[in-house]
């Protein structure tokens, strides 16, 4: 049992960590959120379908992060279905290397569920089905919201690209 859990830790810790980092930004809090998610995995391992460990873990990690955000900023952080926040100030003429870190920041500034969608689909390369399971959305919603999220990113990229 413990060996199986260690295998899950090896396989999924980086993805859970990346998701938590994108959502919470604060590394210490992201570590706590990841640990909480893995504790829940340990306690519920018998009840979870072995083929769905990753989406289950991602969902629990995300929900834990959102709870933390609610506690942190009860009004401002979780305007989930609202219009996107624009990145402050034009950053014209960024180089390719700088664009990478710019994109990370821009993703960080997306609202939920756009941010989770981009992280899960474009960073983690999860399938649409898995993303739908994690975010408890249906497939058309996943595709629509992902399209919107990318559109926001693209619009902001248009402002800053060299």
């Amino acid at each position: 049992m413990s060996r199986k859990f260690r295998k899950w830790v090896e396989e999924y810790q980086h993805q859970a960590w990346t998701l938590a980092r994108y959502l919470l930004k604060d590394p210490a809090e992201a570590e706590d959120a990841c640990q909480e998610a893995f504790v829940k995995l340990w306690k519920n391992q018998d009840a979870i379908d072995p083929d769905k460990i990753r989406p289950w873990l991602m969902k629990v990690t995300r929900n834990g992060c959102l709870d933390r955000l609610r506690r942190r900023h009860p009004t401002e952080e979780l305007q989930e279905w609202h219009e996107p926040q624009t990145v402050a100030g034009p950053m014209q003429g960024l180089h390719q290397t700088e664009l990478g870190s710019w994109l990370k920041n821009t993703i960080n500034n997306l609202k939920e569920p756009y941010r989770s969608l981009v992280v899960l689909r474009d960073v983690h390369q999860h399938s649409y089905e898995e993303v739908a399971a994690v975010l408890e959305l249906n497939m058309p919603q996943v595709k629509t919201y992902l399209h919107r999220a990318r559109k926001q990113l693209r619009e902001q990229l248009a402002e800053v690209r060299p």
Binding site: S2, V9, T18, R21, P27, E31, F38, V39, W42, V123
Partner: protein
């Protein structure tokens, strides 16, 4: 979609592809690997009855049994009789012994009379059987 939009899309896809999953810090890995040790499940008390943790209602009868057990213990303690109780017991005992005495005497005299009569008859009859002249001498005596 214009050509510019297409190049913008391509550029963004390229950027997104460059984003990688971040490596979790070693401190987190250590914390995660400690989880099985720190959150080991306790063995259930009655595994055949309650495989999981004991439901709270199971403890209710246990708590109710405590005052009951105390009550039983208190009731089982020997009670110190009062002087009146002792006096009454003594009188009851005297009456009981008097009855026993009387019954003993009556039974004794009855046994004596029944057994005595029976013995007298049986001894006399046996003797007259074994002494044949007795009958004759008896007749002679009467004549």
């Amino acid at each position: 979609m214009t050509i510019d939009d297409k190049t913008l899309d391509a550029q963004m896809d390229h950027l997104l592809n460059q984003l990688e999953v971040e490596k979790a810090p070693a401190s987190l890995t250590r914390r995660l690997k400690r989880i099985p040790r720190e959150h080991r499940e306790k063995k259930p008390l009655l595994p055949w009855l309650f495989p999981g943790p004991l439901p709270k209602w199971v403890m209710a009868p246990a708590f109710a049994a405590v005052p009951l057990a105390l009550l039983v213990i208190v009731m089982m303690q020997p009670r110190q009789p009062s002087p009146q109780d002792v006096e009454q017991a003594r009188l009851d005992l005297a009456v009981a012994f008097a009855y026993l005495d009387k019954a003993g005497l009556r039974t004794g005299s009855q046994i004596q009379s029944v057994l005595g009569g029976e013995l007298r008859h049986s001894v006399k009859d046996k003797l007259s059987e074994h002494i044949p002249f007795t009958e004759q001498s008896l007749q002679e005596e009467t004549t």
